[in-house]
Symmetry: C2
Subunit: 341 residues, 2 copies
DNA sequence: TAAGTTTGATAAAACGTTTTACTTAATGAT
DNA sequence: ATCATTAAGTAAAACGTTTTATCAAACTTA
């Protein structure tokens, strides 16, 4: 049964009607009698009619496609997001077209330009510094945009992300309550607000416990470092600061590399070094004695983002430009941060 | 600088030419003088002209979009694939539209039907039993399809995947060479040829070592089992067969659950139980003492698949229906399978 | 010079829809 | 019986391209 790809013109011919009538019936618009409607509907169903998306898109200017621009699809975090987003979008007849930027501004610009060639009705984007203009341009062209996992400070573009500041604060607070005194921070030297918020949470938690921040205990991994180098660097950092009794990693990428370092240095978790990492994943749950993590509410984040976007695309005329959702995270406590001594 | 979305008609007006002339120049088709060409090209460039994809699609029947249908984007394996595929496709001006099936046949059918509404020029699909008709239908409609990570036995549809049989054979062979005598198998009760091929590799490796297969040492995890149940079941299986000194897991999902079981049973790897799992990932490289794995050549698989597809879509008239690529894997040896005793 | 050929440019049709404006027939009101 | 209203259906334009067929002018050839 090969699809003959029939058009409304064909249906019109088969039913002795006009294409207008067919179109009206199929879209429930004009007023057409029950009998004719039924006849048309029957023929359409029997032949498995599907409208030509291109034609519809050309005529209406609506593609029913959403652009999802993420840093990299490889990660668990974005993978799970993509799943939820896809699922929800499909319910409303939207497809997802996915692009990754690999944290490269030019790639980000290209991707957005590419998507904006009328192909896409709305966007979910993980923001990077340098993309402000491009995103604002989209909005100026009436395309709904929702940022995810980050935001542009000072700009009124809706976003939804985990509450990075409080998550980090709580994580470090937890360490301090457990009796650890010298908590170090390992973060990446990327110009991302998420990371800055997390770092701020770390600092403020120390302050709340009346501990003076020791800048030496904060390590920023250079962005362009490869995995080999990174591990070397983190190892060196750990070795040079024996007084540290706990470490907070601001991303799971850093966290897993940290584990590798600690393993190679033959340190014991948590006796020699307690560990907390952002982003929960399988490694952290399995790795003995279990690594305490900040679990991002991926489902909620993704769901909120796509809901927000869909409501905009469905013609909701509310101004969502000021919607800024910071969703609380959950601290998953495991063996890596049990009470000291 | 808001995109005014100008059309070739606008360009024609601006340059005192006709839309035909503009179209010809922009596509390098007809014969138009140098001067006029330059004028048109200049105006187009200055205003950032981009053709309306919908219009092009409607007229030419070509969407420049590739459909990627996978089981789930969540996993590392498919995430990496997606990345490579996206990258290569982009070089030729194609975008990727991604859909997941979650191993649900109906969802698979729906997804393919949805994509086939003229939106998509070609497909990369992870096959599932029950989708044969739908895929053949696509091919009958002249849409190029490449299967990935699986195949349909008996059907001439091009595919590319890891050499499951030999990979499994080698893994088990490695265990036997290392001195393990009672090698068990944990696989999933899914009707997927990949898994069957892996199981066959296991059996034949035993045979090659003149070991009679003990059906009791083969465990098939029921498909619909949730994580809790699965772990319970695997634990029970391990406990009931104390004579086993090694286990081969046919997927990384099973492998990580297996680790959890072994941990809970307080068995030591590899002294009490040696372990090999299909699919390498971070958990296996980090988990002490390191888990030996079959590393799939994700890059090569993805690259071959997209190359194959692109060459077809670019009008290569070779018949690729018989292209069947089984790419060798690499056995990553780690502490979980060191020489016995 | 007449006839053929090449060069440069264009008009118009087509792709498959949606939608506006219109027609015709039937119904209702007075 | 007349006019207004409503119901049911349709013609035709438009969306932005690509491509075929055509045309006029310029250039060759004999």
């Amino acid at each position: 049964m090969i699809n003959k790809k029939l058009s409304i013109k064909d249906i019109a011919k088969l039913t002795n009607t006009s294409i207008t009538t067919v179109s009206f019936v199929l879209n429930g618009k004009g007023r057409i009698s029950k009998e004719i409607s039924k006849k048309i509907l029957d023929v359409a169903a029997k032949n498995g009619y599907e409208p030509n998306r291109m034609a519809v898109g050309l005529r209406t200017g609506v593609s029913k496609v959403i652009g999802l621009v993420v840093e990299t699809i490889g990660g668990v975090f974005f993978g799970e997001m993509a799943k939820v987003i896809e699922e929800e979008a499909e319910k409303e007849g939207y497809r997802i077209i996915y692009c990754s930027t690999n944290n490269n501004i030019q790639k980000g610009k290209d991707v957005i330009k590419m998507l904006s060639q009328q192909l896409v009705d709305g966007y979910i984007v993980t923001p990077m510094k340098g993309l402000e203009k491009d995103i604002q341009n989209l909005i100026a062209n009436e395309k709904p945009v929702v940022l995810i996992d980050g935001y542009f400070p000072g700009l009124d573009i809706p976003y939804v992300l985990v509450d990075n500041y409080n998550s980090a604060f709580n994580a470090v607070d937890h360490l301090l309550h457990a009796g650890y005194k010298n908590v170090g921070l390992v973060t990446a030297d990327l110009d991302l607000v998420q990371l800055q918020d997390r770092a701020q949470g770390y600092k403020d938690a120390l302050k709340a416990h009346h501990i003076k921040e020791d800048k030496k205990l904060v390590f920023k991994l250079p962005f362009q470092a490869g995995k080999e180098e990174s591990i070397k660097a983190i190892k060196a950092f750990i070795e040079q600061h024996k007084q540290m009794d706990a470490l907070f990693f601001t991303t799971n990428y850093l966290g897993t590399m940290g584990l590798e370092c600690i393993q190679e240095l033959q340190l014991s978790i948590p006796n020699d070094l307690a560990v907390v990492s952002f982003d929960d994943n399988e490694v952290f749950s399995l790795y003995p004695p279990g690594i305490t993590t900040v679990r991002q509410p991926t489902y909620e984040i993704a769901k909120s983002a796509i809901d927000l976007l869909l409501s905009q695309m469905n013609g909701d005329k509310d101004d969502i430009s000021k919607v800024k959702l910071r969703i609380p995270s959950q601290l998953i406590q495991r063996g890596s941060t049990i009470l000291k001594n």
